[in-house]
């Protein structure tokens, strides 16, 4: 299995990537960061943010909205252009949010808090989460092929696992 397809749109830390129809979206080496994908089956558009922290520190400007959960979700919605009344037709996928370093005396639990914040935000917009692989103590990489709905998940020391999300990504689209 090729680890990196040539045309994968990889979101680095704090970045947002958008693909239309044929694209492949992905993140490499997510630790406490979370890759959050929103997909709109009606338009075939998908947008990915590589979220680093739950919210911006006070006084921080939004020069990179993808950095923080609270600014990333609105930025993804803006990229997709889905009408406000139709947000529930979107599907969300969450990957990452681990705590790699264990047994710390002052654990910041950033991974857990990133995931919690994203849950809260998605719930507020009534966007269903159709795939989630978060938490634990290991890093993750993933690629999502928007054309096939195949999500390839990689963990160090293990063979890649392919999840077929085509059904989950399409079914709700028909209903909407």
């Amino acid at each position: 299995m090729p680890l990196r397809v040539l045309d994968v749109l990889l979101a680095g830390m704090g970045e947002i990537k958008v693909a239309h129809g044929e694209g492949v979206l992905g993140c490499i080496g997510l630790g406490s960061c979370v890759g959050v994908v929103l997909y709109d089956a009606a338009t075939g558009k998908g947008a990915l943010a590589h979220v680093m922290l739950p919210e911006p520190p006070l006084g921080e400007s939004d020069e990179m909205p993808g950095k923080y959960a609270t600014t990333a979700v609105p930025a993804l919605l803006k990229e997709l252009g889905t009408p406000a009344h139709a947000l529930s037709r979107l599907k969300a996928m969450l990957i990452g949010g681990a705590e790699l370093f264990q047994n710390r005396q002052h654990a910041l639990q950033i991974g857990t808090r990133n995931v919690e914040q994203l849950h809260r935000l998605l719930e507020a917009h009534r966007i269903p989460i159709i795939f989630e692989d978060t938490g634990g103590h290991h890093g993750r990489s993933f690629e999502l092929d928007l054309a096939t709905g195949q999500l390839t998940l990689r963990v160090v020391g293990q063979a890649p696992v392919v999840h077929n999300l085509a059904m989950a990504m399409m079914i709700l689209a028909k209903a909407s």
Partner: protein, 201 residues
Amino acid sequence: MLTELSAFRQDALREIGNIGLGGAVTALSDLTGICFTLEVPEVMELTTTQLHLICPSEECLSVGTVARIEGDWSGEAAFLFPWHSAEVLWQALIGAAPAELSDLNELHESVIREVANIMLGSFLNAISQMTGFELHMEPPAFAADMAAALMSSLMVEALYGQRELLAIETRFCMPEQQFEGFFFFLPDTGNLYRLFDALGI
């Protein structure tokens, strides 16, 4: 951040790194009986682009330890080793290395933690002697994972704590064994200036 530091202060930080890590690498050499060489430390902005220094691929398996430093000067210090370098340490200290990640056990972890402990201890000692600062550290935390995941987790913590994303970074190596280790120090906000004050620069 880096641009705000004068060349003189950058030189001073490099020298602090040199002295502190010189002690650390000597301690590592004493512990393992292997002679390591230390490259001149660099003072740089911590970014994931430094990953290529640690290993050729962002997903390659690496071993990392991070410890909180408290006292008159605070921040986080981390050591990262590519897996093949950790194998050198395991071989030298307990005679055998885990064949793969799934064979990693508590003994292997504690070996790496102990190496970090000794190296950080002598790093802090050197800083204390230069500045008169009283410093102590937490026991180092351990992780073995993709290099990018380790590095990004450290960066995010620094960002969260509003630490300087400024690292004193260096490589210590042993050419014939392809050993490489990387050290990062991330001072808490304001702590760099406290250091400069103590040194009178």
